[in-house]
Amino acid sequence: MLLMHNLSFRYKIPLRAMALVLITAFSLTAVILASEYDNTRTIIFTEGDLLAQVLSENLRDPLRHDEVWRSYEIIHAPLVLSRSRADLTILVDPLLRIIASTHPGQFRMLTPVSTHGQDLEQVADAIVNAERQWQSVVSSPEPLNLTGKSHYFVVSPILSDGVFLGALVLRYPKNLYWPRFIDIGEHLGGITLGVLILLLPLSWFWGAKMAQPMVSIARCLGQVRHRIPTDTECHLYESEDELGQISSQLRLMFETLREKQTLERQMMNSERLAAIRRLAAGIAHEVNNPLGGMLNAISTHRKHGSMTERTTRTLDMLERGLKQIRDIVSALLVEARPETSYLAPVDINDVRMLILPDLQRKSAHLRWDVECEQPISLPASLIRQVLINLLLNATRAISEEGHVAMRLRQTAGMLDIQIGNDGAYFSPEKLGHLFESFQDISDGSSPLASEHQGMGLWITYQIVRQLNGRIDVDSRPGWTGVHVTIPVVDDPSLV
C-alpha cells in the first residue's frame, strides 16, 4: 500500500485506469449475471408452466383410469426427447402419494411425496393449501411456482370436472444457470482482457502524458535547493488548466527568485566593493605620496638636468604613465577628483606600446586602424584604461598566432572604438552577465578565465557608463568583437 502511495504518477495513473476498467468490467458482469439469474428463473417457470399444463392435460385420462404405466410414459416422454430441463417429474395422487416419477427407483410409487426431503415437503404443503382454490376455479388453474432450497418447482393440478385427481410436480435444479453463468463469465472475461490489452498501452501513454507536467514541476522544484533552474531547463507545461496555472505561477516564482538572487548578489558585491574601495583609498593615499615625489623628480630633472631628445621622450612617457597612475589612484579616492587631460593621439600610441609586449609573446597579429589627428575632448586616462583593458582581454583570449584588431574613429561627436579577436568566444549565457563585477566568466573552454579580467570588464563598463557611452559585445565562434561608443562633449574640467 505504501509502495502504491509512493509510486510516481507516471505509473499511478495507468494503474488506476486499469483498476477502473476492471471495476467497470466486474460491475457490468455482476449486473448481467444478476439479470441472467432472473431471466433463467423466468424462463424456467415459463417453460415449466407450459410443460406442466400440457402434461397435466394428457395425464387426466390415465389418472382417471388408474393407468400408471401410461402416466409413467407421459411424464417420461419429455425426458426421452430431452425437451425438458426438469431433473425430476413426479405425479402424485390426491393423498399426495407418488404415482409415478421419472426416477422411480428413488421416488418410489405409493410413498408420500413429503418424505422425500425438505423441498418436496414444502411442495406437499403448497399442494394442500392450493387444492381448495384449484377446485373452485372453473377453467384450468395456473400452475404454482415454488422456490425451494436447491430447486425450483412447478406444480400443476390435474382436475376432472372440478375433482382433484392429483398433481404434477416438475423440479428444476437452481444451478441450471451455472453453465450459462460460466459461459457469460468467460465471454466477459475475454472482452475485459481484450479491452485491458488495448487500454494498457493507451493508459500508459495517457498516464505518461498527464504525469509529464507534474514530473517536470517536481524535477524543477527539486533543483531549486541547489540553484534556480532556467525556463529552458524546466520544460514547464503551458496550458490554461490547473497544471498550466501551477506551471506559470512556478515560472513567476522562479523569476522573482532569480531577481531576488541577483539583488542579493549585487548587494553582496556592493558591500565587497565598498570594502575594496576603502582598502583602495588607503592604498591610493599611500601610493600618491611616492607618486608625487616621482613626478616632482621628473619635473626637477627637466629644469635642471641635461636633456637629450631620448631622455625627453622617455621622461614624457614616464610622466604620462605616472599621471595615469595618479588619475587611476585618484579615481579610487572618493573625495579627490584629479585633474585630467584631453585624449591625445600620443595616448593611443602609448596604449599600443604597452600591449605590444603581450602580443609579441603570443606571436599575435595586430591590425591597428586608428584615425586620430587631434586631441579629443575626453578624459585621456579613462579612455586609456578602457583601451588597455579591452586590448589586454583580447590578447589573453587569442591562442598562439591569433589575430587582434583595433579600430578607432571620431565621427559626428562620437568616439567609436571597435576591438576584436579570433580567440575563444563567450556563450550567449555568459554574454548576459559579462559586465557584472566578480562574475566568474570562466567556463573551462575559454581562456578568459581570470578574475582580473572580470574586474577589468566591469571597470570598463563602469567607465563607459560614466561617460554616457555604450558598450556592445558580439561573440560567436571565430570572432568576438567589442564595440564602444562614447559621446564627445566639451568638458571644461579637462586640461
Binding site: 400408471v68 404405466w69 409413467y72 410414459e73 409415478a100 422411480p104 427407483g105 418410489r108 410409487m109 405409493l110
Partner: protein
C-alpha cells in the same frame, strides 16, 4: 367370468375395424385383415411392411395389418368378424377354442413353445422366487396374457396365496416390452414376461434387459398362435396358412422370420396348448 368379459366388448369393437394400407397392387380385391398384438415387433414398421408385402404376394390379395393396444381389442375384432386372422396370446385362444381355429404356430428355438420369465431389477440380489415379492410393486402386461398375467397369478394360486392381495400394487403395461422397461426403470419390483420377447429385447436393446435379472424361467408353454375365426371360409384360411407356413422356404419370408427370431410357421396340434388350457380352467377366462 373372464369369457363374459372378453365377449362384452364385441359390440363396442364394431367401430374399430381399420388397418394399415398395404399398397395398391390388389386394390380391387377385398383385403385380408390380420390383427397383431403389441409384441416387440410392432415398433418395427419396416419389418411389418416387408411382411405385408410378402403375404400379399403369396396370397395374391392385399393384406392389412391391424394393430391394437390390448389383446382384448384384437380378440373382440376377431370374434366380430372384422379380422380374418390374428396373432394372439395363447390364453385367449385356450379360452375361446370353440370360436377360433388354430391356423399355425411359430417355432421358436426349434419348438412351438416358449418360456415365461420372472424378472426383477438387476440390483435386486435377494429375490429367489415370486414369494419374495410379497407386498411389492408388480407389473402385468395384459389381463389376457398367459405370461404377463395369468401364469404368475396361477403360481401364487397354486402356492396358496391370494394373487389379488399378494402385491402392494400392480400395474398394467399393455406389452411385455413395457413390463421389462418398468422393471429396468425400477418403476416396479418385478414382472412376469414372455421369454421370447425378453430374448428378442436382449438382442435389439440389451441396455434395457441388462438392467433386469431373470429370477425364474418357467416350463414350456405353447407359443402364441396365429388363429382365424371359426367362420372364415376354408379357402382363405388355407391361403393364409399356406403363406405363413411357406415363409421359411422363401428368401424374403426367411429374412422376416430371422428378424423375428423365429424358425418357421407350422400348423401344430391343439394339444400343444393343453397346459394353457389347464391353467385357464383354474384361473377362469
Amino acid at each position: 367370468m373372464r369369457r363374459h368379459f372378453l365377449k362384452s366388448g364385441l359390440a363396442a369393437a364394431m367401430a374399430y375395424a381399420t388397418g394399415l394400407p398395404s399398397g395398391n397392387v390388389f386394390a380391387a380385391t377385398h383385403p385380408i385383415r390380420i390383427g397383431l398384438t403389441p409384441v416387440f415387433l410392432v415398433q418395427r414398421a419396416g419389418l411389418l411392411n416387408r411382411w405385408n408385402e410378402y403375404l400379399s404376394q403369396r396370397i395374391r390379395r392385399p393384406v392389412n395389418f391391424v394393430l391394437r393396444q390390448s389383446y382384448q381389442e384384437i380378440t373382440t375384432l376377431l370374434l366380430s368378424g372384422q379380422l380374418d386372422a390374428a396373432w394372439i396370446c395363447e390364453y385367449p385362444y385356450a379360452c375361446m377354442e370353440k370360436e377360433l381355429r388354430l391356423l399355425t404356430t411359430p417355432f421358436y428355438q426349434g419348438k412351438p413353445l416358449y418360456r415365461v420369465y420372472l424378472i426383477v431389477p438387476q440390483d435386486d440380489k435377494h429375490t429367489r422366487s415370486i414369494l419374495d415379492l410379497k407386498g411389492r410393486l408388480f407389473a402385468f402386461s395384459d389381463p389376457n396374457s398367459l405370461a404377463g398375467y395369468q401364469l404368475p397369478r396361477y403360481w401364487l394360486h397354486m402356492l396358496g396365496v391370494d394373487p389379488d392381495h399378494f402385491f402392494e400394487r400392480t400395474i398394467i403395461t399393455w406389452a411385455h416390452r413395457n413390463s421389462v422397461q418398468a422393471v429396468a426403470d425400477r418403476l416396479v419390483d418385478g414382472a412376469a414376461v414372455d421369454g421370447y420377447v425378453w430374448d428378442m429385447l436382449s438382442r435389439f436393446s440389451p441396455e434395457i434387459t441388462q438392467k433386469t435379472r431373470i429370477v425364474l424361467r418357467s416350463e414350456l408353454y405353447g407359443f402364441p398362435p396365429m388363429v382365424t375365426p371359426i367362420g372364415l371360409p376354408e379357402r382363405e384360411a388355407t391361403q393364409i396358412r399356406g403363406a405363413l407356413n411357406g415363409m421359411n422356404t422363401d428368401p424374403n419370408g426367411q429374412e422376416i422370420l430371422s428378424t423375428l427370431g423365429l424358425q418357421r410357421f407350422e400348423t401344430v396340434s391343439p394339444a400343444v396348448y393343453g397346459d394353457v388350457r389347464k391353467i385357464a380352467t383354474v384361473m377362469g377366462c
